[in-house]
């Protein structure tokens, strides 16, 4: 195997850390590819000032019911965030799979608000457009946001319809039997719920697209 | 003679807090805060006494009159006094003093009595920071300046009265 010495110099310039060769994958991270303040900025935005005090014990991963499906365990996300692996973190599935069950939040021996950290990372990923285009989870969040912005309340039937339209319209067909069953039992409504004082909602949520990127 | 508060009132005024700490608990706690590098506001100046019971209310009045914007008194927790009950005596005196200060027009938050044990370095930080902010909100007390003003007023008044008397006599 020939070592691509020439290439590594270039890599230092361009953030391209995974190089596929015939049989092997070369992985390396150069300090210049990192966003070194990322961790501190996330900590600040997530009441997780203690993020930096993580001792990498892995309690969060072990207690997480979704860790089996994550590309990086929550512990790794914390480590990577702290060390400035911004792209990997914001591109990861982990932050979207977090179901906000707060299990890690209550068990963390350093009392890091991990759920809040995940939220901060989700916001960052949405703002910087990092998440995969048709990944339904962030789209659900966005559709939900719009729905409530409009009416002040959420109507589940309409939320699901708009979600499927944006992600996978065929899925709507798949779900239609379930939908029908729910409808027959009066558990899905067509009429939209809304608050009377929609003006108050609009006043509160004035800066719809606001928020500073990290 | 102007106090620092008044000198710098025009530019950036910083609250001045005089803190009387007992040797056994609160002063030790302040040392602990130091050893633990618990950063806090540089506005308090500590005077060490053996016991909070040694603190004569006059010390506090004197501090205010010399230009302090706030006074903090720190002693051991009830039941923990190195001298058995000095802190209770301090508490009794300070309750009375608080009423007096109120009558004198000195705001409540300018004087604070705190029980801080030798292990509570963190508390030193919190209390000093909190108090600095509270006093900052209240603004300068500026008693020396007020004294001067009152003195001038009195002089003027005296002169007017004397002047009138002289006029009567004349």
């Amino acid at each position: 195997m020939q070592l691509p010495t020439q290439k590594s110099v270039q890599q230092d310039e361009a953030p391209q850390k995974i190089e596929k060769m015939k049989h092997v994958v070369r992985r390396i991270k150069f300090e210049s590819e990192l966003d070194l303040d990322f961790g501190e900025r996330v900590a600040e935005k997530a009441y997780g000032q203690k993020l930096l005090s993580c001792i990498q014990c892995g309690t969060c991963s072990a207690t997480c019911p979704l860790a089996h499906y994550m590309d990086y365990t929550p512990r790794k996300i914390i480590a990577m965030t702290r060390e400035g692996f911004k792209e990997e973190v914001l591109n990861s599935l982990t932050i979207w799979l977090c179901a906000s069950c707060y299990s890690c939040y209550v068990q963390c021996p350093r009392q890091i608000h991990i759920t809040d950290v995940m939220y901060a990372l989700k916001r960052e990923a949405i703002q910087l457009g990092f998440h995969p285009k048709r990944l339904p989870i962030p789209i659900l969040a966005q559709e939900f946001y719009k729905r409530v912005l409009k009416d002040g309340r959420n109507t589940e039937s309409w939320l699901l319809i708009s979600l499927y339209l944006r992600t996978n319209p065929f899925k709507m067909l798949k779900e239609s039997i379930l939908g029908l069953k729910l409808f027959l039992r009066g558990r899905l409504t067509i009429g939209k719920e809304h608050v009377k004082r929609r003006d108050q909602i609009h006043a509160i949520l004035e800066h719809k697209k606001g928020g500073q990127p990290l | 003679m102007l106090t620092a508060g008044e000198q710098s009132k025009t530019n950036t005024w910083e609250p001045r807090i005089v803190a009387f700490f007992c040797n056994w608990c609160t002063y030790t706690a302040a040392d602990l805060a130091g050893v633990s590098r618990l950063r806090h506001a540089p506005n308090a100046r500590i005077i060490r006494v053996m016991c909070s019971g040694r603190v004569d209310p006059q010390f506090i009045l004197d501090a205010f009159s010399k230009g302090a914007d706030g006074v903090l008194l720190g002693g051991c927790h009830p039941g923990d006094c190195h001298y058995m009950e000095g802190n209770y005596k301090a508490l009794r005196r300070m309750r009375l003093l608080k009423r007096m200060l109120k009558d004198m027009g000195i705001e409540e938050h300018r004087f604070r009595l705190e029980w801080i044990s030798a292990s509570e370095g963190e508390r030193i930080k919190t209390v000093i920071n909190e108090m600095t902010e509270q006093v900052r909100t209240l603004g300068p007390l500026g008693l020396p300046k007020k004294f001067e003003e009152w003195d001038t007023e009195m002089e003027v008044l005296e002169r007017t009265v004397n002047g009138k008397e002289e006029a009567v006599h004349a």
């Binding site: 979207w96 299990s103 946001y145 109507t155 039992r185 | -």
Partner: protein
């Protein structure tokens, strides 16, 4: 004590039976409450993924409205949906703990002519029924003790973590005690608070279904006749996907999933209609466990 209620969006659709049974049970127990006027969505887990201050402000509007509706004292605001309960409690707590949040949120509320002063205490109906009303009083009112019924109480995640004050975050017992008070038998199982995946069943179904499969299987394995929930989303996930789970994973799961308030209603002798039982996919057959109180004495 009088309560304000905050139904939340889910109780108006998928969770209708939950609201109906709460109304019926509260009425039967003579617990007075009124609905929070013009409440809005709490924001659930989605809002905070977009904008945190907006999320807190949106939730805080409800708290501010509660203060407008009740002029004095501490207001007990009942939020039956776990997500609403968590979001409102969290908002309440963060407003208290983080001065920055308080300032920013009140600035937003200000634009809508509202202000929040910190008088609201967010409560869950489970907490209210067990800790305010009391188990003894409930069991006195029970007409049909559910003798022999084995119940797996499923608390889900957000109702006990991390802002709830009424029970342990991983091993809660409040619902189990309630089940006992109804004459039934609580099943001790280790997954009481393991997450059902929440909205993942709608977005990342593979993961969502697996989580529910584990919960349902374990409850069934431990001999439960019924699973009780206290959250509309948990109920929906656990009940509505059973067929699909059986199909995909070749399982034989067949267990009714009801709201805890429905079970109380049954024991109190309320009608199925009042309790919204007809809205369940799998109506639990409870008749064989219902023994009128007189019979119990002979047993």
């Amino acid at each position: 004590m009088k309560y304000l209620s905050y139904p939340g969006c889910s109780l108006r659709s998928t969770g209708r039976a939950y609201e109906e049974s709460i109304v019926a049970v509260f009425k039967a127990l003579e617990i007075e409450y009124e609905e929070l006027k013009d409440w809005n969505c709490c924001g659930a887990t989605s809002y905070v993924s977009i904008d945190e201050t907006d999320a807190f402000a949106l939730a805080a509007r409800n708290l501010a409205l509660a203060e407008l509706q009740v002029a004095e004292g501490t207001i007990n605001l009942i939020a039956p949906c776990s997500a609403c309960y968590l979001v409102l409690s969290k908002t309440e707590r963060y407003l208290e703990d983080y001065p920055d949040v308080r300032t920013n949120v009140n600035a937003k509320l200000d634009k809508a002519g509202l202000h929040y002063n910190g008088r609201v205490e967010v409560r869950h109906p489970l907490d209210v029924l067990v800790n305010d009303y009391g188990l003894e009083k409930i069991s006195k009112r029970v007409k049909y003790p559910l003798k022999g019924l084995k119940v797996a109480s499923y608390y889900g995640c957000q109702v006990v973590r991390p802002f709830a004050k009424f029970d342990h975050s991983h091993y809660p017992v409040t619902m189990d005690k309630l089940v006992q008070a109804l004459g039934a038998e609580p099943v001790d199982w280790p997954l009481k608070t393991r997450c059902c995946g929440g909205s993942l069943t709608g977005t990342t179904q593979e993961a969502g279904l697996r989580l529910n499969r584990l919960l349902l299987k374990e409850a069934q394995k431990r001999g439960a006749d019924i699973m009780l929930t206290c959250c509309p989303l948990c109920q929906h996930n656990l009940e509505c996907y059973q067929e699909r789970i059986n199909r995909i994973y070749q399982e034989e799961i067949d267990i009714p999933v009801a709201y805890f308030t429905q079970l109380i209603g049954v024991a109190l002798g309320l009608s199925e209609k009042e309790l919204g039982m007809q809205r369940l996919f799998k109506k639990p057959s409870l008749e064989k466990f219902m023994h009128p109180k007189g019979e119990m004495a002979h047993a």
